[in-house]
């Protein structure tokens, strides 16, 4: 029975059909998707924290407004993705509360870049330009995902990311056009973020689960392919605005058509994500816990009001 269902499922995948939440799917398809989308959802939410830190300190009212809009988008993306994740988690008996609590207990990881400090306005700019730029590359690579609900949400997310892209570029261009002190601040921020940006795409080895995800057409590109795309798109622009990339080994190899670069410290940055021991991990998770707990009464009140309305 399961064998027939599996064969039929794989035939659908190979025909390029989209799988829907109520369809039969193999357990490992569900698990791989859930792990990916849960981490994506939580990363959107935790990704709002470094930027929200800059809302009260944004240099102009317009910057403050656009930064708030962005923070709202990130939380909104988290909500859309959580809906997709909780439909996948439902047969496993896990609820939205479980998915959110996993952030606080460290059961779900979030992207390395959101564990780091953003000490200057230029860091906010680098986040908007390059961290979002890297995230846009990984998200667009998932647009053809075989799971329909995720692919549809990604289309909406990518449409909104096009605003984020312009927003980040605008901050960078202003600083690059500015005083020597502003350009220096930008340079220092780039130096703080470069290694983390390379790490963001994940290790170059194609792991067993990555291979399985390609077989299931959840994703179609390797980490390294995406890192290469990022370098090709962004290295020329980073240089064009007069910034120096802090990697003396970085160069484009004409023969192989690939960028060579100094590998990030996989061990150290990996530990930061696994153990939540980045410079800002604990503080931001603490803020998340506080928001979750202090707003519990609002959620309870809404449920009671909902019941009251029904009688």
């Amino acid at each position: 029975m399961t064998q027939t269902l599996y064969t039929r499922f794989m035939a659908r995948i190979e025909r390029g059909e989209k799988i829907e939440a109520a369809d039969w799917m193999p357990d490992d398809y569900r698990q791989l998707l859930l792990r990916l989308i849960h981490m994506h959802a939580v990363s959107e939410i935790m990704g709002a924290y470094p930027e929200k830190e800059w809302v009260p300190r944004a240099p102009t009212l317009r910057r403050k407004l656009s930064l708030m809009a962005k923070v709202q988008d990130e939380i909104g993306h988290g909500q859309l993705l959580l809906r997709v994740a909780e439909d996948l988690a439902e047969p496993l008996g896990r609820t939205r509360d479980d998915l959110m609590r996993d952030v606080m207990t460290g059961r779900v990881k979030f992207h390395n870049v959101f564990h780091l400090e953003a000490p200057t306005w230029a860091d906010a700019g680098i986040i908007g330009w390059l961290v979002d730029g890297a995230a846009i590359i990984t998200q667009t690579a998932l647009l053809d995902c075989s799971y329909g609900p995720y692919a549809r949400v990604l289309r909406r997310i990518c449409a909104e990311e096009s605003f984020h892209m312009q927003h980040g570029e605008s901050i960078i261009l202003t600083l690059a056009e500015g005083t020597p002190a502003q350009r220096e601040m930008l340079q220092e921020a780039l130096e703080r973020w470069w290694e983390a940006l390379l790490f963001f795409f994940g290790p170059p080895e194609v792991t067993a689960s990555a291979r399985k995800m390609m077989e299931y057409r959840i994703r179609s590109r390797t980490n390294e392919e995406l890192r290469q795309k990022f370098l090709s798109r962004y290295v020329p622009r980073i240089r064009a605005v007069g910034l120096r990339i802090p990697d003396s080994r970085l160069r484009f190899d004409e023969e192989t058509g690939r960028w060579t670069y100094t590998e990030p410290d996989w061990e150290r940055l990996g530990r930061m994500v696994r153990e939540n021991d980045g410079p800002k991990s604990r503080e931001r998770i603490g803020l998340r816990r506080r928001a979750h707990e202090e707003q519990a009464w609002v959620r309870d009140a809404l449920v009671r009001a909902g019941h009251a309305a029904m009688v």
Binding site: A22, D23, L80, E90, P149, V303, A305
Partner: protein, 125 residues
């Protein structure tokens, strides 16, 4: 055909106590139909509308929102293509089934009409 599990969603069980999944439909202008855009988890229809506005109408225009409890939607299974199968040629129902008109009008030294051209003419005054 079944209810309580729409093509783009799973079962109807609430993922948070007291909450339900509501499917969201946005109407972008009075002449457009409501379009399904996704779903929200909410403790009531009223609150689902608030969350839907925040999640799906932050940008662009919207003139109306619908939220429908997922378990109230009946849908065809997503993996059953047979329901929509075309057993035979149906071009007799379509414009493409009459593409020879243009050539035949030429014999009478006249031109085939199109719907677009009629609409432009009538509405353009």
């Amino acid at each position: 055909m079944r209810s309580g599990g729409v093509a783009n969603g799973a079962g109807a069980a609430a993922s948070r106590p007291g909450h339900e999944v509501y499917e969201v439909f946005v109407q972008s202008s009075a002449l457009e139909p409501h379009t399904h855009v996704g779903s929200v988890l909410a403790p009531s229809a009223e609150w689902a509308l608030q969350v839907a506005r925040e999640n799906f109408a932050r940008r662009g225009t919207a003139v109306n929102l619908w939220v429908v409890r997922r378990r109230d939607i009946a849908a065809t299974p997503a993996d059953d293509g047979d329901f929509f199968v075309r057993e035979f040629d149906r071009t007799y129902r379509e414009v493409s089934g009459y593409s020879d008109n243009a050539r035949r009008w030429k014999r009478f030294k006249a031109r085939a009409m199109t719907m677009d051209e009629v609409m432009d003419d009538v509405r353009g005054g």
